[in-house]
Subunit: 440 residues, 2 copies
């Protein structure tokens, strides 16, 4: 006999038990259903891409985290994707003439990042992305529809309401112009850290970028929370007059339009927070930016973020392809929701009925019964192993079946089934048809 190897998986990878997997898949399926309802098309690209594609933008931090494939010297350099955005850019550039624009796609798939090992951070995780890509132009109204999809997604998951924190990069960059801040990319990244590291630390970072003390004060005054979106909009209108900056004016009008149209798309007003401190650290966003929090679970942090970018595929195409998109990091979200016990697997959710033949003579009749249950779309099975009745019921309990159906001599003689409700403990004899009627 060969040596036993201790079974284990690599650290930083999520693997679930069956009941947990059912719960995970149910959430994933609800997300997908809403993406489809809103007219986004499915996409499924290879998990492995050429390195020249993945690192077209230049490597940086990402390159260090990437899972490279070792396929011998003569093969193309290849690696596992670290997000779904680079594959989208490559796909749209490659198939520009075969696609219809605006191209609306969703993609739910695993991505890979060799991050430092820490709780709740996974090296393999699901991203659930939607994006709308235009050719040359893309209406701002798309920016307002994206959060509406996410709003419906979280409604259907049923855990909590999504609250959208919305801002606009043009508005921030206009402010920087007005305040003579030159290194605006770096300044945006500094402000992005506000919630994490606090005002003092951000002030230091801004000072290091050469921003004057007065400007820092004005920035903090500007980005601080307001009593309401309406108060904030009034403030923005006053600043328009004060700063007289074209970029700022465009940003303000865009933000107001997205805010108005989001409500037309039925995102409730109370689920929208115009939040000038939201910047999104990533450098490709150019207009609208979103972060999403769950009401009453704000401590989980942003569960979904995205925004508007000017040119998706500039490394792969001469076409101008502006877009807007958002991404849910599902694996981490699932970890957070289960850790905080906001969701947990429910017994009786997956298997409607298990048929238990009392003896081998009852097997054929049991198979007839399960055939009928399955014809009526009930998740069901026969327990086909020999053994004591107690063992059979224990299995029925362990798999969380909703009903156990016992088949013995009496049931066969009367052409009926004995149904035990495993939730309430009651037991009745009835025909299969009666059982199906009862359960439906």
């Amino acid at each position: 006999m060969s040596e036993i190897i201790t079974p284990s998986i690599l650290s930083g990878f999520m693997e679930l038990l069956p009941e947990e997997q059912v719960l995970f898949d149910a959430i994933k399926s609800k997300i997908e259903t809403k993406f489809q309802l809103y007219g986004y098309w499915p996409l499924d690209t290879p998990a492995i891409e050429k390195c020249e594609i993945l690192f077209a933008k230049g490597g940086g931090e990402t390159a260090k985290q990437v899972y490279r494939i070792d396929k011998g010297e003569h093969s193309h350099e290849q690696a596992l994707r670290f997000d779904l955005t680079v594959p989208l850019a490559r796909y749209v550039a490659q198939h520009t003439n075969e696609l219809s624009f605006p191209f609306r796609r969703y993609h739910i798939a695993k991505v890979y990042r060799g991050e430092r090992n820490q709780k709740g951070r996974y090296r393999e995780f699901y991203q659930c992305d939607i994006d709308i890509i235009g050719r040359d132009t893309l209406s701002l109204i798309n920016d307002a529809e994206i959060p509406a999809v996410i709003h419906q997604v979280f409604r259907s998951i049923g855990v909590s309401d999504a609250v959208f924190h919305i801002n606009n990069r043009r508005l921030l960059n206009g402010m920087f112009e007005a305040l003579k801040v030159e290194k605006n990319e770096e300044a945006l990244r500094a402000i992005d850290k506000l919630a994490k590291i606090g005002e003092e630390a951000v002030a230091e970072m801004l000072a290091a970028l050469g921003v004057s003390e007065n400007s820092i004060k004005e920035i903090f005054e500007f980005i601080k929370p307001q009593k309401s979106n309406e108060v904030l909009i009034e403030m923005l209108d006053r600043k328009k007059a004060e700063w007289n900056n074209e970029l700022f004016d465009i940003g303000v009008e865009e933000l107001k339009e997205v805010y108005a149209k989001m409500q037309e798309f039925e995102v409730p007003r109370e689920n929208i927070v115009l939040d000038l401190s939201i910047t999104r650290g990533l450098d490709y966003y150019t207009g609208t930016v979103y972060e999403t929090f769950l009401r009453n679970y704000e401590k989980l942090g942003s569960v979904c973020s995205g925004g508007r970018y000017d040119d998706l595929a500039k490394n792969f195409s001469k076409e101008h392809l502006p877009g807007v998109g958002i991404s849910i990091g599902l694996t981490r979200l699932f970890y957070q929701l289960t850790q905080a016990e906001i969701i947990k697997p429910q017994k009786g959710d997956y298997i409607s009925a298990i048929v238990l033949p009392m003896s081998s003579e009852d097997v054929s009749y049991s198979i007839k019964v399960v055939n009928e249950l399955r014809r009526n779309n009930l998740h069901s099975l026969v327990y086909m192993e020999d053994g004591k009745v107690k063992k059979k019921f224990s299995y029925a309990d362990n798999i969380g079946a909703r009903y156990a159906i016992m088949i013995g001599g009496n049931e066969r003689a009367e052409n009926k089934i004995s149904v035990k409700d495993l939730q309430f403990g009651t037991q009745d004899m009835m025909t299969v048809e009666e059982f199906i009627a009862k359960i439906n």
Copy 2:
């Protein structure tokens, strides 16, 4: 401006256009629905496993094809999975005490093999597996249920009926004992090649294994097709008396029982072929073996195969874990079905309606309309870009929308919508409610 990198993917990987992807996903979803209906639990393991797990059995051909991950010297040796069976074995051994046996699981996911590049062979492909794993024992009735699931899967896909070619390894090994063939593993692999290389070549292989000319003749006589399953069973019963071999007798009785029980699970008799030439080359099968062909498309070859194995996880566990399972290679099947034009994307299948505002004044009303459509679960969207009417209709056609809904001043004034049936070309004005009633 940075240099443009030509967008492309690695060879041997499948990537679909959106309409094709919808078709692929529809088939995948039908497979999953049936797996769930029959009470199999979902499983989703990491795509990356430790090499010590993947190669526990010893490397061989598989090791050469594997996609290894390059993560620096100090990390565990790791690679992408090449099937879903090794991860299942590892999972069941790792979680034995947390699972209920028989453990019924399905797994639909991508696997990776660096095969020689050829048409219709993919290096990344979906496998759709079901397996039932017992602890210590597993009833033979499970062997009969597995093809019933696959029968329903192909019924629901609607392309063709699945025809199951069934055999039993014990029966073959009993025959080898009776005929004094010693190298039975090699002999099984030779017979497995019969359909591909013909009788003469297989005879040469058997002769090389030391099988006598007479025995070779008798083997071919034994495994040749019979007029009917009933004639074949009669022949087997005669051989029982002639050969008087215990293993053979067990194999024959198992095959007869699986045949009978498959029919109880409602696999039609005409969809079952007892076929003694089916051996499955792989060495871990011990009893029942299946190959599946599509009626009228037999030239596609076997689309689904599997069988009974005695001990799933012997490399990872001291427990005795017998099982039975089957696997659909979905990516290759999809390629074959589309190449042969047996299936093709249908227009009007994915987007029920697209709302076309005639001018920017019509946008808000259009959003109200699409909100209502989506509330009624119709896949729908608003075309939000500026442009001429012709361009808007051309987009509606290109995405294969079933209906185009035009919104202009008249529609707003009357609180109605103008509906154009893009399949039949007819056009009508009606309320949103009337449209929803019409489409449902």
